[in-house]
């Protein structure tokens, strides 16, 4: 076994074991910062973990066993996507698998047969349709700047890819708001109550399955922040580590700021803005790369 393979496996294991804790703490900090912004004290940093532990111990009651099964599949495929990314493999494959995972969440919502969940599912489909072009353009940009979709090739690069893909990075931050389910784009399963939606996709999900949803959300947060960090990796390990951590902190703080300062938009606006951003920022960046 060569050293690359061992490193890949090691990173994958570290991701599977540590990502939920990192994700939970990020989520705890998120709630704390949000509370501070709203002039409240806020819950403990570890509160998300306590919540999930409590959910795991609940009696299993459901509207439909199929729904719980698909929620489990959602969790599994989010983890697989994360493994693919953090072991330095193909970025595009990671994107495709995370799309598969969201499809399982959508099916779970549909299968519950709750009108609210179904509405949430359709909005979730729309969200995928909104962010997919930008994410695919980002993959194309990565391929053009890096010469391959592989993440581990970035560690040999002379310059981080943010140098080549500044506009794509901005566009990605824009759709990241959709992916991490932050306002103004939290239309499919809002943290806050909305009359027409109740709890959207997760309306009928409870107990253990709801805990799985939370855990997948932690994994997803870590994965997406990994995508942010990807823009800042290059051959100097120390500098890129500093840049990665700094960028992740700045970007996530920005997301919290956006979350607290924007009201939810209508889905029509979400579709319009996200596609325009993809076309404009993504398209122009790719065009510049091609000309150069």
């Amino acid at each position: 076994m060569d050293i690359m393979l061992i490193l890949c496996i090691a990173f994958a294991i570290v991701f599977v074991l540590l990502a939920p804790f990192v994700g939970a703490i990020i989520s705890g900090i998120d709630r704390k910062v949000t509370a501070k912004m709203q002039g409240r004290v806020g819950p403990k940093i570890l509160q998300p973990i306590y919540d999930v532990l409590k959910l795991l111990g609940k009696e299993s009651a459901t509207v439909n066993p199929a729904q719980d099964f698909f929620v489990l599949l959602y969790l599994i495929f989010v983890v697989i996507a994360g493994i693919i990314f953090f072991s330095g493999l193909d970025f595009l494959l990671c994107v495709l698998i995370i799309t598969l995972a969201s499809l399982f969440l959508i099916i779970a919502a549909y299968s519950s047969r709750s009108p609210f969940a179904e509405l949430g599912a359709q909005r979730e489909i729309l969200q995928v349709m909104c962010y997919e072009p930008m994410i695919l353009i980002m993959a194309v940009g990565l391929f053009m700047a890096n010469g391959a979709f592989n993440i581990y090739d970035l560690f040999n690069a002379q310059l981080p890819i943010i140098v080549y893909l500044p506009l794509i990075f901005i566009g990605f931050i824009f759709v990241l708001t959709i992916k991490v389910r932050k306002s103004p784009f939290d239309i499919s399963m809002s943290h806050h109550a909305h009359q027409e939606l109740v709890r959207g996709v997760t309306t009928e999900i409870s107990g253990r399955s709801l805990a799985y949803i939370e855990i997948s959300h932690w994994y997803e947060t870590v994965l997406f922040l990994g995508w942010v960090a990807m823009f800042f990796i290059f051959c100097n390990p120390l500098v890129s580590a500093i840049l990665c951590v700094a960028s992740v902190i700045v970007v996530y703080f920005l997301e919290i700021l956006i979350d607290n300062n924007f009201a939810r938009v209508k889905w029509q606006s979400m579709l319009k803005y996200s596609w325009i951003v993809a076309l404009l920022f993504g398209g122009v960046n790719i065009l510049v790369l091609m000309v150069l």
């Binding site: 009651a61 698998i97 299968s111 047969r113 695919l136 065009l287």
Partner: protein
């Protein structure tokens, strides 16, 4: 020995279905038909398998050509002509009956062109190999045989129910006869190297689809069948003109030598190939229902479901993309390549947008076919080895998954009485096995790790390598729309209220189950066997054409994806919700839930209210009429602008080469006065000189007195110019010098190597 085997197995595959068709024409009894269709299908599948097992090892190394005795070949030429005349006679008959005179005029014009061509032009061109087997034709033959015959078997049960459901006269015997004749014609298309034979089979498929679409003889069916006929006759017309052009300009009537000749033309000479290539591409577009010709395929929905399944998966539309894949080495980075790529890309996006607003499941499937074929066509236009690899896999996976979906929708329609997606609510409860099959088909169409999406991924990579922004943008937005319409269809079907008591599946015919299981097996099996097919057939084929080629995604990744798709397929097929250790609760609906299946609840006034929920169709954002109109306008604009551009460049190049070729041939003949030469002669003289050089660059010098083709032409041109100056006595030697430099300029960018256009 192998030669004879090839000849016999090809002719068996072409003629056996036609013989079966003739027999079926006279079998009116349902039961007797069962005993003919089943065994005949098994025999065709066995023959195709035999052919592929026998020839795959040799075709992976190089194409396998079949020589036919000259007199027999000539006889077949006349038979083809006779069939062409018969087909047009049938069209004329139907046109007069239905008073469609525009189609009639086109058909007759086409016939005149073809008869003139066959009688006066074609005989002068020598065709060395009329038939051939290569890996692509083996893949196509397997698709046609297995999927096509599977659909025929399915039709046994389906047509029985159809006759009971519909009010029209039961003409099942004609229906089955045409289905089998269609298969025979498809085999003829994929194995013909002789372009005029291929054209004949091409026209047979046009007329077969015309007859199948108009099967019910209702006004709508007749109108739609004529629409299909009109578009395909336009395509046939383009094919015929391209045939004449290639015979005149390049002196070839063989598909493979046409491709080789055109692909090896130097950059400037390749301008001459744009018009025939674009005409052939348009012929492919009409068959493959690309924008602006997509309407006929949507109109084809009026026919019984097996027709749609056949047209969409293994025959008609696949003939179009088959031709384009064959031609793809000529495309690449030139005008004709951009033309094909852009039309494909535009089709991919606009068809996907149109599919979003459809609530009729068959129309969703139709638009998705158009969209996916657009992607294949775009890959053909890109014309790199990676793109062709992707195109072939898209074709294979699409054939399996789409036939599965059509068969499922057809069966569901007969049992729930509707093809509307909203009526498929709770299909998971009502038809548990069928909805699982259908979900496998849908997953196979649009989601990783199934083969279709992996091929799309390869297509994306090949598009990135072209460094063309437009096609990448089209691909990413089209993919997003694809997710939208598939996911909401899948979701609607997967809704479940845990009530499996009233299954409607008991009355599904056995023949339908056989076909459905075959398609599921193929859809999943192909995804699992993906790595093997890639390394065993497609990579050798691609590397034969491009002299390069490897696995485009990496073998390890292939196996990972294959395993993953197997697991997911297994989950969907085998998972049954267990209600044992769980407390089942009613769904929350803003009141006390009564019945989750009915979605009824007690409202705040203690009355009962029913909640309703429809899928999103976003009619105001992606209105079908406007979207497809926009697509049609864009694609027509592309066809006309690029076509116009091609005509301009061609005429300019013709002028340039006229001077050169006239000069060179005059030099060769030592006759400076013969300045009038027709187009065919000068192009062929140019190609001749080029070929002579490529055959033996060493001896070129001794024959032509120049070291290579470029200098030969510039030397010749100079001599020609000098002779002109000496004739016109008052011209000075200065002019000669100017002529010199301009001649060198015009020819210096003229690479003589064996490359396609740049």
């Amino acid at each position: 020995m192998l030669d004879l085997t090839a000849l016999y197995s090809i002719s068996f595959l072409i003629f056996f279905p036609i013989v079966v068709a003739l027999i079926l024409l006279f079998v009116k009894n349902d039961k007797a038909r069962k005993y003919i269709v089943g065994p005949a299908s098994a025999i065709i599948i066995a023959a195709a398998l035999f052919l592929s097992i026998t020839f795959l090892p040799s075709t992976n190394a190089q194409n396998f050509y079949v020589t036919i005795d000259k007199s027999i070949a000539e006889l077949i030429n006349y038979i083809c002509l006779f069939i062409d005349i018969l087909l047009v006679a049938y069209i004329v008959f139907r046109c007069i009956k239905s008073k469609k005179f525009f189609v009639l005029i086109l058909a007759i014009l086409q016939l005149i062109l073809v008869v003139w061509f066959e009688l006066f032009v074609a005989p002068s061109i020598e065709v060395e190999f009329n038939l051939y087997i290569d890996t692509l034709s083996i893949i196509m033959a397997l698709i046609i045989a297995i999927i096509g015959c599977g659909i025929c078997v399915y039709a046994l049960g389906y047509m029985h129910d159809f006759a009971a459901h519909s009010t029209c006269k039961d003409r099942s015997s004609t229906f089955f006869a045409i289905m089998f004749a269609f298969l025979g014609a498809m085999f003829a298309i994929v194995f013909s190297n002789n372009l005029s034979w291929m054209f004949c089979a091409w026209e047979i498929t046009t007329v077969c689809s015309f007859a199948l679409i108009g099967y019910t003889r209702t006004q709508e069916a007749v109108n739609n069948s004529f629409k299909a006929l009109l578009y395909n006759i336009i395509g046939g017309m383009c094919f015929a003109i391209a045939l004449v052009w290639s015979a005149y300009a390049f002196g070839v009537l063989e598909l493979d030598s046409f491709v080789v000749t055109v692909a090896s033309l130097s950059t400037e000479a390749s301008y001459l190939s744009y018009i025939p290539l674009m005409l052939l591409a348009i012929a492919g577009f009409t068959k493959a229902a690309q924008f602006p010709f997509q309407n006929w395929l949507l109109g084809a929905m009026v026919a019984p479901t097996p027709t749609s399944a056949l047209l969409h998966s293994s025959t008609m539309v696949k003939a179009g993309v088959f031709l384009l894949i064959k031609l793809s080495p000529c495309f690449g980075f030139n005008l004709s390549g951009y033309f094909v790529m852009l039309i494909g890309g535009v089709t991919f996006v606009f068809a996907a947008f149109c599919a979003i607003s459809q609530s009729n499941s068959k129309r969703v499937l139709a638009y998705s076919t158009v969209s996916n074929l657009g992607l294949i066509v775009a890959c053909c236009g890109v014309g790199t080895s990676a793109a062709i690899w992707a195109a072939i896999f898209l074709l294979v996976f699409h054939a399996a998954a789409k036939s599965l979906l059509f068969l499922c929708v057809g069966t569901a329609e007969h049992h729930i009485g509707s093809r509307d997606i909203e009526d498929m609510d709770l299909l998971f409860d009502r038809m548990p096995m069928l909805s699982r099959f259908m979900s496998i088909g849908i997953l196979g169409m649009f989601i990783a790790p199934f083969g279709m999406l992996v091929s799309k991924w390869a297509a994306l990579v090949s598009f990135v390598q072209t460094e063309d922004i437009i096609i990448i943008i089209l691909l990413v937005f089209g993919s997003a729309a694809t997710f939208m319409f598939w996911a909401k269809l899948l979701g609607k079907m997967m809704a479940s209220a845990n009530n499996f008591n009233e299954t409607l599946e008991k009355s599904i015919h056995n023949s339908e189950w056989v076909a459905l299981c075959l398609m599921v097996f193929l859809t999943v099996g192909l995804c699992i066997a993906f790595p093997l097919i890639s390394s065993g057939a497609v990579v050798p084929y691609v590397s034969n054409i491009f002299n390069e080629g490897s696995d485009f995604i990496g073998a390890g990744m292939h196996w990972f994806l294959a395993l993953l798709s197997f697991v997911i397929a297994l989950i969907f097929l085998a998972y049954t919700p267990k209600t044992k250790n769980k407390k089942i609760q009613p769904v929350y609906m803003s009141g006390i839930g009564i019945n989750s299946q009915e979605r009824s609840f007690i409202n705040s006034l203690s009355g009962e209210t029913k909640a309703t929920q429809r899928n999103w169709y976003m009619d105001n954002i992606f209105p079908e009429k406007k979207t497809s109109l926009a697509g049609i306008i864009v694609s027509i604009a592309l066809i006309f602008s690029l076509g116009f551009f091609a005509i301009i460049t061609t005429s300019q190049v013709v002028e340039d080469y006229r001077v050169l070729a006239v000069a060179s041939s005059a030099y060769h003949e030592n006759d400076w006065k013969s300045l009038e030469i027709d187009q065919a002669t000068f192009v062929s003289s140019y190609i001749l000189v080029n070929q002579k050089y490529e055959e033996s660059p060493e001896s070129f010098d001794s024959t032509y007195g120049s070291s290579d083709v470029n200098s030969y032409f510039s030397d010749t041109y100079n001599k020609y110019a000098q002779s002109q100056t000496s004739t016109a006595s008052n011209q000075t030697s200065d002019t000669t010098t100017t002529n010199d430099s301009s001649a060198t300029n015009s020819t210096s960018q003229n690479p003589t190597s064996n490359e396609g256009g740049e």
